[in-house]
């Protein structure tokens, strides 16, 4: 069995000044920490089978991405966006991209409908997160999170944080689009890691990477207009951009999220409580029991007014107070 992932992200191995041209963007490495992201006018669909060039599309997606990334950054979601350079270009943090796409769905649409034989436009009880391998050659297959972790595409911590950010971004964006009469049906996110190991939202957030329907209808304001030949795609993108740029300092109501911390004594530390539990269970007939260890669970509920700040403060509180790193280890999971 091979241990290295068969899926490589081409932008991860670029040297300085080297360029990579993708389907919709060009990435050029500026230095160790930063890249230049240029949005192209090209549109592709069905893994690059359907192609077109629409003048002005690169500009619109660059602007929409900038608006949405700035909005999310203000809520404490770390994104790679640093500054706009011109109409179609911005400077961004250089990241090692995770070769897995995070997709959140609020309504049934697209491949989700085909895969499970559903009708389009069904509101899901809860937003659903799906992971896909980022590979045109493999047609972006759906992947189970545990498999993605086992194959080394991402770590469990990266998955947990990516999941948290995905659900919170969904909440923030849904509220924002609601302001301009659009429903956020589903969207795709890509995350990457900088040199310090911090997880950032990368790539773009535009009608190329999400489905937007006019509220109460299934009228598309996204790439489906192009995919399904439903009209002039540039007009749809222009509409989204115009309406978004009209919004002034919208403050969404912050969603709540849970941090679940499980604490265990390190191996080798005598667990007196575990020893008593073991003896008790043995008395009850569980004679095959070779060891019992007792840990702790701490559940914290937080308001996502500034996600990053909360997570950073929590990280300090965890190692300085919630656990004693000399004798204990811990695992974190998140829930929204």
């Amino acid at each position: 069995m091979q241990n290295t992932p068969s899926v490589q992200v081409p932008t991860n191995n670029l040297a300085q000044n080297e360029e990579y041209e993708g389907k919709a963007k060009i990435i050029r490495v500026l230095d160790e920490q930063t890249v230049l992201v240029k949005f192209k006018d090209d549109l592709t669909a069905f893994d690059g089978v359907k192609k077109a060039t629409k003048k002005g599309k690169g500009h619109l997606n660059a602007q929409i991405t900038k608006i949405l990334f700035s909005y999310l950054q203000d809520k404490g979601i770390p994104t790679h966006f640093l500054e706009q350079l011109d109409d179609t270009t911005f400077r961004a943090r250089k990241l090692r991209m995770i070769p897995v796409e995070f997709v959140i769905r609020n309504y049934s649409a697209g491949s989700f409908v085909r895969r499970y034989g559903l009708s389009k436009g069904m509101k899901l009880k809860k937003p659903i997160l799906e992971l896909f391998v980022k590979s045109d050659a493999l047609h972006d297959p759906l992947i189970d999170p545990n498999v993605a972790i086992e194959l080394g595409f991402l770590t469990r911590d990266e998955y947990e944080k990516g999941k948290l950010y995905s659900y919170l971004i969904n909440d923030f964006l849904s509220q924002l689009f609601d302001q301009i009469g659009l429903t956020l049906v589903d969207f795709k996110l890509e995350f990457g890691i900088d040199q310090e190991g911090t997880l950032y939202l990368g790539d773009e957030l535009s009608p190329d990477s999400m489905r937007l329907w006019k509220k109460g209808t299934q009228k598309s304001f996204d790439k489906d207009v192009f995919r399904e030949d439903k009209g002039e795609v540039i007009e749809a993108y222009e509409y989204v951009y115009r309406r978004l740029s009209e919004i002034n300092d919208f403050q969404p109501s912050p969603p709540e999220f849970m941090i679940n911390l499980s604490i265990r004594l390190k191996p080798g530390i005598v667990d007196a409580e575990g020893a008593v539990v073991k003896r008790a269970l043995t008395r009850l007939g569980l004679t095959q029991l070779s060891e019992a260890r007792v840990g702790k669970l701490i559940d914290l509920k937080l308001s996502a007014t500034n996600v990053l700040k909360s997570l950073e403060t929590f990280a300090v509180g965890r190692t300085e107070f919630l656990i004693n790193p000399l004798i204990e280890k811990s695992e974190i999971s998140f829930d929204v």
Binding site: L265, I269, V270, A272, E273, A275, E320, F321, L326, I327
Partner: protein
């Protein structure tokens, strides 16, 4: 003579006998409740008595480190004031980061309350003058098993930070004399400078004529000596 502050957290329950034992040896002592952290600056030394500060929630001594008085105790230690933490006071000092290592649950899985003997080691601390003596003192704890990594323990030995070990009445340090599973029978340690000591046995409970021994007097006398 200068005053000794006896720190009382919510859940501390040894502060009265501690204050009285200090006074028995001629010292002035006052109880400093956790909500008056500013009083820590007015005293010459600190005694952190036993009990169950903050209900032992999370880990014994852990919550104390998030308090203002916790910060003041660290400041006092940095200023070089003599500090003695006994039982839960010892646990608080490790959680505050003033003493290395951790105190985990007794390997016997039981709360232990009994008289034990300790052998006083040569150390860099204010108990150095008692080195080579064996003292009989009571212990009463559930989490008194001292734990430290191998490398860190070596460093502590090099700096002479081991103050006391559980022993037989003869002073021999044997596994049999270890009541709680402490690493190498450790019953008390000091910080690198030697002004902060943590002890699991209770000197303040071996003072009065009706106590089984009065060996606690020697420890408290050395503590008082350090203030002068």
């Amino acid at each position: 003579m200068s005053t000794i502050g006896v720190i009382r957290f919510p859940g501390t329950n040894n502060e009265l006998e501690t204050k009285r034992s200090l006074e028995r040896l001629g010292a002035q002592a006052k109880i400093i409740p956790h909500f008056k952290p500013e009083l820590v600056r007015e005293v010459a030394a600190l005694y952190l008595p036993g009990g169950f500060s903050y209900g032992d929630y999370l880990r014994p001594g852990a919550v104390a480190k998030t308090t203002e008085i916790g910060i003041e105790i660290v400041r006092a230690a940095d200023e070089g004031k003599p500090i003695l933490g006994v039982c839960n006071g010892f646990q608080v000092l490790t959680e505050l980061g003033l003493l290395p290592g951790a105190l985990v649950k007794n390997t016997s899985t039981r709360f232990i309350a009994k008289w034990i003997s300790i052998w006083i080691e040569r150390s860099n601390s204010y108990l150095e003058d008692l080195a080579g003596t064996t003292l009989s003192l009571p212990i009463a704890h559930y989490s008194g098993s001292y734990y430290q990594t191998k490398d860190a323990l070596e460093q502590m030995k090099q700096k002479q930070q081991i103050v006391a070990r559980y022993s037989l009445t003869s002073g021999d340090v044997t596994p049999h004399a270890n009541p709680n599973g402490s690493l190498e029978n450790i019953a008390g340690i000091a910080n690198k400078v030697g002004n902060v000591i943590g002890l699991m046995p209770h000197p303040e409970r071996a003072i009065e004529p009706f106590h089984r021994t009065q060996h606690g007097k020697q420890i408290i006398a050395s503590f008082l000596e350090a203030i002068k």
